[in-house]
Symmetry: C2
DNA sequence: TTGTATGCGTTATCAA
DNA sequence: TTGATAACGCATACAA
């Protein structure tokens, strides 16, 4: 699908200069320093460029010379298309791109399969900096980011030496959920958790796996639940926790089914994301269980749909998170220490929680 | 925020080769053609690289040499952050990125203010191809895309010589809306249209402006309405049309207010996007006008929220649109003529239209 | 206002 | 299996 007719080798700055009988510098200046030329020479250059089909200085060659790419990279460790399926991520992107707009820089979405070891995409990304979003501790892509000689900002996780970080206090936030449920009187509870490791794995989670989870956001959320439940005298090791690799409605539904198989007597299901919580509710509806009368359900994130549907959840400021990440990346840090930004969350009581049936 | 200690000049492939007393070719091969080296030499190279902090071949330099960027560019002629506020665009991006995933290529979001003449971002984008989404006819950014010696695909608009295109039949689709309303008996109708030109402008639209609209998608939608209304004996020039530059709830609401000022007796408002339609409904609610009893409302696009809220609208397959655009871009066209893909739309009767009050 | 010389960091080609 | 050489296309310091 070559649109351009290729009879002669494509024009370059040098060939254009030769054609005009002037130096390359002058042609370069015509594009980059218009004030360094006489206006008539400049228009002569531009006219010749059009005539010869010269598209202007090659961005890659210029980039090599100037050491600027004009773009920042976003590393997700998900398939790219996932980003547009998750409302939380869309909000994050809105915030991040608002900063890109201000800085007049592009945003490069970097493809990185979660379970792939191939790091070529990040090694090969022509960017002036990276934002790494919610990566597991042991992801080789992150290492690949950190060796690149450009700034980086990490969102949510993992902690890394000398890198700026934007996050929320997941543990404290989730504890509010636990406290809310125990205050209502719930004692038999199940948990549907997002992925805890890089490998595709669905199923029950024992304490050991919780503690060595490579997603410490998830680990912290579980720890927050443990804090709250144990404070109310509920033994954590008797609470069934199941893990789902995908963050989707379907995963939430199957997680709920698994929880109910493990303990049919539960009165509440805690999901570690709103999306999973919707799946849980879907499965409960399928079984003609009422929410919250028969089973209470909670989420995490505070995506728009959670608010409109009245899910009891914790809201975190995704757009702000993206904006702050962009700011940290785009305005250089002149101090020695990396910067840490922790954003506020808000516990929201919805209509999906109530006292347990007696 | 330089993370890397800069005591010595950063290592390059050449400096690494010198350090090891081998040629640059060999170092290059260690990264790009591991099978061309003895394993022990390769590990020696890699160890030295780690020791010297060499991050691997510079992506820009490589890109200059190989003439591959590993990314496709998306040109929006909107602020980047807008992309994540418009559900239709999010769906499009989901489809486009699903193809990027398959091709293992990145996606570069290119910042291009709608009313800015500065074309530097597209001239400077290091990409292997462009997708231009819903650009006005006269946008200089598009011209900048077309001079670049890489493939391009246009979505929705504008028509351009020799470039692949993905679109829907906006005119026919919108006519279905008109036919639906006239069949119900509506005769006094108002229209709230998305922007018709690059310049920021809100207000009433006369026939001349409709016809010279630089957004031919919008022009076609208005033409579709005209087709339908005139077929039912409703003179088009008596239908008030107002334009809004932004596609937002607020814009829809103010558009509705303007329409109602122009003709308080209307029984239906046609919006050319679902988002605008939601704004219209919001304004009507504010005035205690019931939908559809007092005023019928229609949208266009079929975003998810339109379906859940039962808006009468036309649904277009945004995700498919993005996917097809990606396919066209990513699989080269070996034939001479550009390819044209036209996708199906579906008229959806919702609960926002009914017979006019009598 | 214009030109000269040099380097940015890499990979392709071909030879050894 | 390894190496020498020549691009790739441009921008910048400096000289004229």
């Amino acid at each position: 699908m070559e649109r351009i007719s290729r009879r002669r080798p494509p024009a370059t700055l040098a060939s254009l200069a030769a054609e005009l009988g002037i130096s390359r510098t002058t042609v370069s200046n015509a594009y980059n320093r218009p004030d360094q030329l006489s206006p008539q020479l400049r228009t002569r250059v531009m006219d010749a460029a059009r005539a010869l089909g010269y598209p202007g200085p090659d961005p890659v060659a210029r980039s090599l010379r100037t050491r600027k790419a004009g773009a920042v990279g976003l590393l997700l460790a998900e398939k790219l298309s996932y980003a547009f399926r998750d409302p939380a991520l869309v909000s994050f992107l809105e915030g991040l791109t608002s900063e890109c707009d201000r800085a007049k820089t592009g945003l490069l979405l970097i493809p990185a399969n979660p379970d792939a070891e191939d790091v070529g995409a990040v090694a090969g990304a022509a960017v002036d900096g990276f934002v790494a979003y919610a990566m597991p501790d042991d992801d080789p892509h992150l290492e690949a980011v950190l060796v690149r000689p450009v700034p980086a900002v990490i969102c949510d996780q993992p902690l890394a030496d000398g890198v700026d970080l934007v996050s929320v206090d997941d543990r404290a936030a989730m504890r509010e959920i636990a406290d809310h449920l125990t205050a209502l009187g719930h004692r038999r509870i199940g948990v549907v958790s997002m992925r805890l490791g890089r490998k595709h794995r669905d199923g029950p989670v024992d304490i050991a796996r919780q503690q060595r989870a490579h997603y410490h956001v998830q680990r912290n959320r579980l720890a927050g639940l443990q804090d709250g439940f144990e404070a109310a005298g509920v033994a954590w090791d008797r609470i069934p926790v199941v893990e789902r690799f995908e963050n989707s409605i379907e995963a939430g539904a199957s997680g709920a089914a698994e929880i109910l198989a493990l303990d049919p007597g539960i009165t509440a299901v805690v999901a570690t994301s709103d999306i999973l919580a919707f799946g849980v509710m879907e499965e409960l509806a399928r079984r003609h269980q009422r929410v919250p009368e028969d089973v209470a359900v909670t989420g995490f994130d505070g995506i728009k749909e959670a608010l409109t549907r009245g899910l009891t959840t914790v809201s975190q400021p995704f757009t702000e998170k993206g904006r702050r990440a962009g700011q940290l990346l785009l305005e250089p840090n002149h101090r020695a220490e990396p910067r840490r930004v922790s954003l506020e969350t808000e516990f929201l009581t919805g209509s999906t929680t109530a006292k347990p049936r007696t």
